[in-house]
Symmetry: C2
Subunit: 211 residues, 2 copies
């Protein structure tokens, strides 16, 4: 059977241009129609491909939108702005800018909602979207520890729990601010968020208000 080509089987190869066109058409349809009114037939027409071609590559609407939205987060990276506070503010502003785009707003929340009843979809979202964001938290902390802004963590498990907490707080706050409260994540707001986070993480345990 497959003798020479490593991954490419015999026969006509799939068009890479079609993949890009379909994902772009999906984002355009999300902008124009939103999640619930988006139909795969319409996406195929926008992309200039047959509906059957679309179904050969994606099993359904959920998977298609996950891939289309995931590409939006490709531009996320951790800039080196010299201090932990500035690094956090920079990446949060990037994240907020992505969530300000209508194709991200309507698409991301919808697939997350669907993922509560679809374990495979949830894993797809995790690997293609969430894990990439969480990596920024780990990189930012490592960089801050190298700078001496944060102390090294002796307990690896505790360090992982803290990173998860920070990730949920930052990403959750931005998402909630943008999609639920429907307010823009302005520079002032991001600075306030960063201030609370950093003071909360670096303050000494002076038993403030505990019984």
């Amino acid at each position: 059977m497959q003798s020479s080509s490593p991954a490419g089987r015999a026969g006509r190869p799939r068009s890479a241009a079609a993949d890009a066109a379909i994902l772009a058409a999906t984002r355009a349809a999300l902008v124009d129609l939103g999640w619930s009114k988006l139909t795969l037939g319409d996406v195929a027409t926008r992309a200039g491909v047959a509906k059957t071609t679309l179904y050969r590559r994606w099993s359904g609407k959920n998977e298609l939108v996950v891939d289309a939205v995931a590409e939006l987060f490709d531009e996320l990276e951790l800039p080196d702005r010299g201090s932990l506070a500035a690094d956090i503010e920079g990446v949060v502003l990037q994240f907020a800018a992505i969530l300000a785009r209508p194709e991200a707003r309507s698409g991301l929340m919808a697939v997350v909602a669907e993922s509560t009843r679809d374990e495979v979809l949830r894993e797809r979202i995790r690997t293609s979207i969430v894990e990439r964001q969480k990596r920024l938290v780990l990189e930012g902390r490592a960089r801050a520890q190298a700078r001496g802004e944060l102390p090294p963590e002796p307990d690896a498990a505790e360090a992982a729990r803290t990173a998860d907490l920070i990730f949920d707080m930052v990403a959750g706050a931005v998402v909630h601010r943008t999609l639920v409260s429907a307010e823009t994540a302005s520079g002032d707001w991001v600075r306030s968020l960063t201030r609370v986070l950093l003071w909360g993480l670096t303050s000494r345990p002076d038993e403030p208000g505990d019984g």
Copy 2:
């Protein structure tokens, strides 16, 4: 025309029992089918009413699910546990318990996603769900100020901005932890979240790490 009855017009009144049955059936359908596979015909059958009756009261799936999910948050209240930290932990645990229910998980995120393209729906979510949660933040702060745990705020606008920030951080963190990271908001996690928040809010501005 309408001479005596204040709000009730002439004719057969709408069945209040039908309203309750429809909303309960909607939640049951959310548990069994999730958002995307939920159909209004199925909800009507579950509730024991005709499909036309359902359409006479709700304009569509979005509005129906908002009302069905909103009832889940009726039980939210601010317990007086003696300290600000304990109060926060209590209400966050209540919030997390609601979000642990499948009808809330699949329904809430879906309507929020739809609300990004529907201003009327967004306002409906705000008044019936979000604003009720935000009120707990304001009550909790007022109680903490009465206890002397927090200083009084001279600037009302700044106080409102801080309350909005705290609300987005708390609600966003719990939602993100529960629905995106798909981990339970355990007691340990809630205590860690509360610790970061309180230290972040009560620490003195000693310029920690700023240039």
